[in-house]
Amino acid sequence: MSTATQTVEDLAKQEYKYGFVTDVETETIPVGLSEDVVRLISSKKEEPEWLLESRLTAFRIWSKMTEPEWHNVHYKPIDYQAISYYAAPKKQVKLDSLDDVDPEVRATFDKLGISLDEQKRLSGVAVDAVFDSVSVATTFKDTLANLGIIFCSFSEAVREHPELVRQYLGSVVPHSDNFFAALNAAVFSDGSFAYIPKGVKCPMELSTYFRINAANTGQFERTLLVADEGAEVSYLEGCTAPQRDENQLHAAVVELVALDNATIKYSTVQNWYPGDENGKGGIYNFVTKRGKAFANAKVTWTQVETGSAITWKYPSCILQGDNSVGEFYSVAVTNNCQQADTGTKMIHLGKNTRSTIISKGISAGKGQNTYRGLVRIGKGARGARNFSQCDSLLIGDRCGAHTFPYLEVKNTSSQVEHEASTSKIGEDQIFYCRQRGLSTEDAVNLIVNGFCKEVFRELPMEFAVEAQKLLGISLEGSVG
């Protein structure tokens, strides 16, 4: 084997450093899913009747659905009756301040580099931390409240702002949308909620940090973000999980509503446990993310997907209003036995709507990386434009890259462009860098980061640095 291939391989062998388990007492309900379980979750959360009804409707829809099979990922059938649908750190009932957070849970977030101490944060990012299924802390709440911004856990939003939740929940991703979205709508446990009032520009990044800790549980968060007319917000999401031999299911739903002239930027760095190098364990990440943009509004998705055994997600934009804009910037890495089937849907309905898709897939080890994207331009979307670029980078000779672009254009005044490329990190490129003094590892990082540059520059500064590091770790050992 050549040196170049070996190094990428060594790079890829780097261990997952977030794989620890926190010893915290957890309340978990027995495995299995039925109407009774849905009722139990709802009652544990002391939810209003309308939300229970909504869950039950979703459950009935889900019961009649079958799991999708069109994707290009392979896994053993999931036994939905072997999963516990609710887990929560036991101790506290109600949190009055950050000091009430279980010290173990707090220590976990510290270990992950997420400080929940407001005064310690220099960068001014408000964090909502979700541990297993429950939101444990939200920082900077008061500062935000002065501007009329609501940023809290989903459960709290249901209690404190039921009218907003009721108005927008399911308005972008209906219960019947797909198998995993229906499941989520029936059993979702918690998540984050944010509302930015008219004309307000959110002064700091809002961030949710998700952590799965308990074994044999699924994590089903629900995130709802509403930017009222002319509002602006940038939102970050990060996730990790312990290293376990069993696969764990994560089926989240994120809904974004950008009313007239609003701007939402949603960035994800997804680093769920990917399984070991033989493909044992890891998170099944089946996520539905969608934003609706009204007139002149803009929805931007930026994602860096390095974790999970299986990634199945298509952050999408419904460009409903005239002149609305949708953007999707993605880096997806699959190493070892990871599989990813990811991409986006841009649904152009309004006139002069514009969308941009930049997708960068990196495959190493035996990783399989699929880009799947739909650009649909409706009859009424006169003057709509789309530009798509899908690039794949292969490291080593046992991985794969696949691209499935779908285009549906129903009027003649639109422009759609699609560019695609596949390249391999060449040994001559690595040698060139080494001849200039760089180690093989640095050379690979340099080339990979260069490949992802167009996406990284869309990330908020702090996140971009984290993403670059993460990419280095994910690929560590993948070249030799």
Binding site: R434, Q435, L438, S439, L446, G450
Partner: protein, 253 residues
Amino acid sequence: MLEIRDLHAAAGDRQILNGINLTVNAGEVHAIMGPNGSGKSTLAGVLAGRDGLEVTAGTVTYKGLDLLDLEPEERAREGVFLAFQYPVEIPGVNNAYLLKAGLNEVRKHRGEPELDAMDFMTLIRARMKLLEMDDTLLSRPVNEGFSGGEKKRNEIFQMAVLEPTLAILDETDSGLDIDALKTVAGGVNALRDPARSLVVVTHYQRLLNYIVPDFVHVLSGGRIVKSGGKELALELEEKGYGWTETEPAAASA
């Protein structure tokens, strides 16, 4: 500086170098000439540590170190620089960024502090003038979309920034028009230094009009078959390589 003894090397099962002996002292400029397939680029590749070339016998000592025992990046950090015959394109990687990363590795190795962006820019501005480089080449991806001349100029520019002690120029003249050749040669000459040795691999005598060597060696069949002063290059230009090949053959017969 550099001591090559009985160097044999193969690419796959093809034996290319068959016993090279060469001594290069500090400050000297040696030209390696020879016809296609004589092993010139292989020699340059072995010295830089290129993958896929296997040293089957012999030794190379550089500044008292066993050069062949070092990884390519260790050689680079010790001051070995190869100006590539075919500089590689690296899409998405900024030309200046790669150079800064390389320079800082070299500096770290020498125990010097790393340069920040400001100091680095000051340094490279000065070096760019030397090569009459266009500013835009700095911010473009490494070699991507560069013309043949720009690529070669970029190689010598990198050399000017990295300040190696042993520079190997692998057919730096190929693909250059006469004006570009003069600029590149001017850059190389400006870098001549009593502490720096140059090994200039070339096909044609033309380059040696501008970079005047102290010694000229003719490579044939993986061996140095003739060595001499700069006038040897002129003789070769006149008589062709066939002339040198017949001589050792006669000698060994």
